[in-house]
């Protein structure tokens, strides 16, 4: 009788095949379509941030449900290639993937489907691979983190003014010890330092982009170590909620965590992907080329801050002062008079940095290949969109490293 089951199933499969051969003739439409590949789903703040951007651009450009296909929970494996190929088969004009490890698989798909544009966030290979329909994109998020650091600096100043026993030591929960995270916490630290010049910072890495328990533990460890303000670069709500429980102010990332942390959430920087989506969609619709390596900025609307949570400050006066400080710094970043990584604001082993070669062109050995100190500042995100600032500066102590 099980044999019957097997036969029935096989027949059903074959019947389905025939139906499909008839059915699949109908997809030769020329309406614009875009496909998205996400590593996780909305439960990850990282992916939610990309998906929020999709919703924004969908509303702005008036795209229909049928024009957007989103594939979630796609691992960094052959599954990613399959997902990309299926999106291309489904008639997508653009396929966008959001995780660093997707890159190799997207590149494979790009070579197979030259008529489809493949855009990959956080990747590093487009500027050396020379595959015409393969593109990287990122944003100068270090500027956003710097501004969030300014807001934190004002809070720290307020805490020190209220209680002269407060030691200006802050903490940072990072995922891994590599450039994207190093660039992020260093810019955050320099933002705080622009307000409180004697601030120091401790960094604890979790070794995972998403591990709520570990992030919570790391935040608590830092708090127990005497850190009076915490920020993080990891994707769960672990660190922010630990801060709320402990009553320690927190600067978030990827979006507001105010709903769960009404008293301790200060501000959050995030990359808004909607401007990039809008850009690539318009380029394709107009038949124009997409930049090989695109860096979003404050000016393009890619680097944004959430509203400042005034409740995190003891008085409305300091909250207002924080807003003013952010606006001033933002204006100066935009007019170029302020550089986040200006070499006169930090030292490395007691020395100012005059020359540094970063690993900009990807290779297995991480060979430093490009001089990145120009005109007295470390020129982050200019040689390629993905961050490459990976220097340990004075004032920041790494409690562990996780590669």
């Amino acid at each position: 009788m099980k044999k019957v089951l097997a036969i029935v199933l096989c027949v059903a499969l074959l019947a389905g095949l025939c139906v499909s051969l008839i059915a699949c003739n109908g997809d030769g439409d020329d309406t614009f379509k875009i496909g998205f590949i996400c590593l996780h789903d909305e439960n990850s703040t990282y992916d939610k941030n990309f998906l929020d951007g999709v919703a924004e651009v969908k509303a702005k450009l008036g795209l229909t449900d049928d024009q957007i296909i989103i594939k979630k929970n796609i691992p960094e494996s052959n599954d990613c290639y399959v997902a990309a190929a299926e999106l291309a088969d489904a008639g997508c004009d653009i396929v966008f993937a959001n995780s660093f490890g997707h890159e190799k698989h997207i590149l494979k798909a790009a070579k197979e489907f030259p008529e489809v544009q493949f855009c990959h966030a956080t990747g590093t290979m487009a500027h050396t691979e020379n595959v015409a329909n393969f593109h990287n994109a990122f944003a100068s998020i270090y500027e956003g983190r710097y501004l969030a650091g300014v807001a934190a600096g004002v809070k720290l100043q307020e805490m020190m003014a209220a209680d002269n026993t407060v030691v200006p030591k802050i903490g940072y929960v990072g995922a891994y010890t590599y450039a994207e995270v190093v660039s992020g916490y260093t810019s955050f630290y320099l933002g705080v330092k622009s307000i409180v010049s004697n601030v120091t910072m401790e960094v604890q890495f979790t070794g995972s982009w998403y591990d709520e328990i570990e992030e919570k533990n790391a935040a608590n460890a830092l708090i127990n170590n005497g850190c009076v303000l915490i920020s993080q670069h990891a994707d769960s709500w672990g660190a922010p909620t630990a801060c709320e429980t402990a009553g320690v102010p927190n600067v978030s990332y990827n979006g507001s965590t105010k709903s769960a942390c009404p008293n301790t959430f200060i501000i959050s920087s995030r990359i808004n992907w909607a401007p990039y989506y809008e850009y690539i969609i318009n380029q394709v619709k107009n038949g124009e080329a997409i930049a090989t390596d695109w860096t979003g900025t404050i000016a393009t609307g890619s680097v944004v801050l959430t509203d400042l949570n005034e409740d995190a400050y003891a008085s409305a006066t300091t909250a207002a002062a924080a807003k003013t400080a952010i606006n001033t710094a933002k204006a100066n970043l935009q007019n170029g008079s302020l550089k986040v990584f200006a070499t006169d604001t930090f030292t490395v082993d007691g020395q100012a940095l005059t020359s540094y070669k970063a690993d900009v062109d990807t290779d297995d050995a991480f060979t430093p290949d490009t001089e990145v100190i120009v005109n007295g500042y470390f020129d982050e995100s200019a040689k390629r969109s993905a961050p490459y600032f990976d220097i340990n500066i004075d004032g920041i102590t790494l409690l562990n490293t996780k590669f």
Partner: protein
Amino acid sequence: MADTTKKNPLVRISKRSDIKGWKAMGIRAIAFVIALLIVGVVSTATVGGDIIKIYTTLFIGNLMTQRTVWALLESIAFLLLVSLAVTPAFKMRFWNIGAEGQTLMGVLGAAMIVNYLGGKIPEPALLLLMFATSIIFAAVWAVVPALFKAYFNTNETLFTLMMNYVAIQLVKFFIQAWSGKGNTGSKDFNYGYLPKIGGNEYLLGILIVVVITVLVTIYLKRSKHGYELSVVGESENTARYIGINVKAVIIRTMILSGVLCGVLGFILFGKSANLYETAAGGRGFTAILVSWLAKFNPIYMVGTSSLVAFLQSGAKRAGDLYSAGKFFTDLTVGIFFFCIIASEFFINYTVKFRKKTQKIISEVAIEEKVEEVNE
């Protein structure tokens, strides 16, 4: 006494083994339809989509293009291979739930060769070495619990389960060791891709599984080994009495399980030349169900793995319609599993409901009648 009725239980359940084939299929079909209805209700409640669209995608979504058909056949083949791997052990009542870890060790074995020898030796030699290492790694992972079971009678279910986690940690360790500064949780390689047959990247893996299916069927049904392991499964004492070396059978069978998982690990690595901790993709666990549903028969397993893989990827596509992500897939497949497993209950047991209250002649009633007669 006025109350002369005795209460019968509302439902009576009794074992049956004589159910007719058409009736069993009918029960399964009903379970399938019920599952479909529940999926309909649940998907309306969660993603709120168009039911008809979800149903059609669930069934023909897998068959829309050549690529999706090939991908489906491949996922059936992979699931079938792990199911075949766990089956010999299951037949001797050795509950190996470590196929996930064994497969992962196979992937790690291939990665190890590619990491150290990729690009340094000719590709055919590289592939052969990868194949051998995959098999050895996976077999070692399977034989350790088998040795402990054979000599110390440890609980194999817990042991094999634990070995999964050790394998995952080992993979994580090597990813970090090999990636150095650039660890992103997965390690990519440039060598060790499986050759394509006529430009088709799915065919080779599928063919390997077809051959293995035939071999395992013959092994289980026609060989002395196959007979021995079913005797061990029925009764270890009987096996011992008729002179079967039970320890040897346990160890030998688990090595076979490991080897088959190793083959899958090799193929999985060869698909994309990368190492990551979820490379086995949960197949090691799904395979338990596939094997059990097929009553440990390799031929039926072709059917059950097709059904499960078909539902899994169909549900994934249906979820994509509404950007629902993984939860929708898991939920849908879970509903089907639940209903199908429940249907097995109704096949193996007969359920009788109490008919309308039966009057039972109680002792009192009999006494009354006797009195009547006497008068």
